[in-house]
């Protein structure tokens, strides 16, 4: 026949598909369906009332209209991006610094690295409560330190002030994110052969040049995945914000996920809650596409 595959390899392909079938079915049922269903309900007038009565009307884009005409939505979008970008920047820089530090194979490096991971292993709710105490203006340790170093004159009202609350959350999340960045980057660093550095030194490259012309390009893959994974994890933050501030004061720290939760489970506008969740999804989908593109380009070169 005109097929470009031999019979044997066609059988192999069939077998291959059979092997991935269970995983595929699982993904479609457990992940694909909820996503599609979420899109579906975002076009219906789904509220506790309408669902209880058994007639949720199709209302087209009205849910999207409603959420985008709510100033809280814009605040949530702004907060989510602001929070994500600053968390990533700080986590990445500090995490990278630690990774470089621990790549200097000194004796205690392994143990210290292990210790650092503790903050990554703590449940987010615990982190949230802990930072609520630490950021307190009355007896919080962070304000104590800042005061004693004479960096601030009066205690900062971290979580109580509309302008600083998002920074309080960024501090908490950065603390959690550092070990994650450090671990992935130091795995990357371990794979850079030492002789490249040696020959660079012989050629007279200084440490800054070595960093930018050898280290960074050699671990580009790790950097990329750390940034993308970090972005995804940070962008969909829920527990930390919910526990620490509940989105307050007023709506100063509302992010997309808490706003969606509030719409769905506090005021029972399921349709609007789904619409917010879809906006969140689309933002991340774009990031994922960019990632694919970058990875793809790399492969070709």
């Amino acid at each position: 026949m005109g097929s470009k595959y031999s019979r044997n390899s066609r059988r192999e392909i069939r077998n291959g598909y059979a092997y991935i079938m269970p995983a595929l079915i699982f993904m479609v049922a457990m992940i694909g369906f909820p996503i599609l269903y979420n899109f579906y309900i975002s076009f219906f007038d789904m509220t506790a009332q309408s669902v209880g009565m058994g007639h949720a009307e199709f209302i087209g884009l009205k849910n999207y209209e409603a959420i985008f005409s709510d100033p809280t939505m814009w605040k949530a979008i702004k907060n989510t991006f602001f929070y994500t970008i600053f968390c990533i920047v700080f986590q990445f820089i500090i995490g990278f610094a630690f990774a470089m530090f621990f790549s200097k194979k000194f004796k205690a490096a392994r143990y210290l690295k292990g210790l650092m991971v503790i903050s990554y292993m703590l449940p987010m709710t615990v982190v949230g409560l802990m930072f609520k105490f630490m950021l307190s203006p009355t007896n919080g340790v962070i304000n104590d330190i800042l005061m004693n170093l004479h960096l601030v004159k009066a205690p900062v009202e971290w979580l109580l002030n509309e302008r600083t609350v998002i920074w309080g959350l960024i501090i908490a999340n950065t603390w959690v994110g550092i070990p994650f960045n450090m671990l992935l980057l130091s795995t990357g660093l371990d794979n850079v052969p030492q002789d490249v550095y040696e020959s660079a030194s012989i050629d007279g490259a200084n440490s800054v040049q070595r960093f930018f012309y050898i280290t960074v390009p050699m671990i580009k893959q790790s950097i990329l995945s750390v940034l993308i994974l970090g972005f995804v994890y940070t962008f969909k933050v829920f527990d930390l914000v919910y526990v620490t501030t509940g989105g307050g004061p007023v709506d100063a720290s509302e992010v997309l996920s808490t706003y969606s939760y509030r719409l769905s489970f506090k005021t029972y506008y399921f349709g609007q809650g789904a619409a917010v969740a879809n906006v969140l999804f689309l933002c991340l989908f774009v990031v994922a596409l960019v990632y694919l593109k970058l990875i793809g380009k790399d492969e070709v070169s």
Partner: protein, 430 residues
């Protein structure tokens, strides 16, 4: 190629994992509801024990030490009733509202459920509960405090019977007030005076909860009502006066600004450890303080008043769901909320009967602190009753928080709240 596929799969999982989080939470809810139902049907195999008693399923979220007297009461009822057998199912309190909403969609509801009073009308108008006005009016022991029964009544329909209540009062540190040379306050001016005199050396005069959830509204309402303002008229001078009075405690440094992040339990801890001289808090803290701070010398007075005495109703109502056997269920309500059981049962779980015929002097002769709360029950008002209370609740929380953070003036906060509540009212008419 392999790497590329892997990357694609990974990205897929990453993006998908996110929404799976949102979507599947609903699914698992429905699943657990279904599981509960399965167990239930397994139970109902022995439906007709004895002379054809109807089995009614009751959802509750009681935990120790409340659950023991509760179970005893259920057993007593089952032993003496000829019509009904009550079977209890435990549902976590935080889960209950979600379970009811989802159960309603999936058509899997219990026969009866205890519901937090501001939610009764919400679910009633959603069609989850039956209108039991007829049964209630026909009951010869229906002597309840009107303000409290009102929490279950909307446009002439009654969606539940209040079975237990609590309210807010002012706790004060006797030693601190004595040291400052002030009596326990009874009016707004006296409260400010006492707070000013006790605010010093890291101690704040007053503590209350303004955290971003229902506790904030719960604690603000007594001030609002005492000035004769109301949530239906947030733009009025009286409401603005209440908001100003309330937010001035933080503005003038008489209350810690951290009230914005304090739950009522946090407030109680602050009071117990001597960080505030007075606190607004509920009756359930009486037991907490007695256990956790046995050496502390404290007392309770009604919340100081402006024009009228007012407190906010906490507590639950017993509601019958849409497809349940109303007569069998109401027999249980008559038992639990009746003259004989209601008051002693409420006392056994450290709460108060909503009935108007309770002999408070006799019942609380040995407990002066709890007696204050019991006496206040008649000045206690429910939030709402309103089908979209949760939305109004959000509006009031935002108003309180923006006044406390000084993001808005109290006047502006109230005016904005009035406008937002008018919008909610508008959406209800549609």
């Amino acid at each position: 190629m392999k790497k590329r596929f892997l990357a694609m799969a990974l990205t897929g999982i990453m993006t998908a994992g996110l929404l799976a989080g949102c979507g599947s939470s609903g699914d698992t809810q429905a699943d657990t509801a279904k599981d509960a139902k399965d167990e239930k049907t397994a139970d109902t195999g022995k439906d007709s024990d004895g002379g054809g008693k109807t089995e009614v399923v009751l959802w509750h979220s009681m935990v120790s030490p409340e659950v023991e007297p509760f179970q005893e009461m259920i057993d007593n009822f089952n032993a003496q009733s000829e019509k009904a057998t009550v079977v209890t199912e435990w549902v976590a309190r935080d889960e209950q509202t979600k379970q009811l909403t989802i159960g309603n969609m999936a058509g899997e509801l219990p026969d009866m459920v205890f519901v937090d009073n501001p939610e009764v009308i919400n679910y009633g108008e959603m069609g989850v509960f039956q209108d039991i006005k007829k049964q209630f009016d026909g009951w010869d022991e229906n002597q309840f405090l009107d303000s409290i029964t009102n929490s279950c009544v909307y446009e002439g329909k009654m969606y539940g019977v209040p079975y237990i209540g609590n309210n807010l009062a002012l706790f004060y540190d006797k030693d601190m007030l004595a040291a400052a040379g002030v009596e326990a306050p009874t009016t707004w001016d006296e409260l400010v005076d006492a707070a000013q005199k006790t605010t010093k050396d890291g101690v704040y005069g007053l503590g209350f909860s303004a955290i971003k959830n229902a506790e904030c509204t719960f604690q603000f309402m007594p001030f609002l009502w005492s000035a004769e303002g109301d949530w239906t008229d947030m733009g009025s001078d009286d409401s603005i006066k209440a908001m100003t009075y309330y937010s001035d405690f933080v503005k003038n440094g008489l209350a810690n600004k951290e009230v914005l992040n304090w739950s009522q339990a946090d407030v109680c801890k602050q009071f117990a450890s001597g960080n505030c001289a007075m606190m607004v808090n509920g009756s359930w803290n009486v037991g907490t303080l007695r256990n956790d701070a046995p050496d502390k010398n404290w007392g309770v007075v009604p919340i100081p008043q402006d024009k009228v005495p007012a407190s906010c109703l906490g507590g639950e109502a017993l509601c019958i769901t849409k497809n349940a056997d109303a007569d069998a269920c109401f027999e249980f309500i008559e038992y639990l909320c009746g003259k004989e059981i209601s008051a002693p049962y409420a006392k056994s779980v450290a709460k108060f009967s909503p009935r108007s015929d309770v002999d408070i002097d006799k019942e609380f002769a040995d407990d002066p602190e709890m007696k204050v709360f019991a006496e206040q029950m008649e000045n206690t008002k429910p939030r709402g009753p309103y089908p979209k209370w949760t939305e109004v609740d959000n509006v009031i929380i935002e108003a309180c928080q923006s006044a406390l953070t000084e993001a808005k003036t109290p006047e502006q906060a109230c005016k904005d709240a009035a406008a937002a509540i008018a919008d909610i009212e508008e959406s209800l008419k549609k």
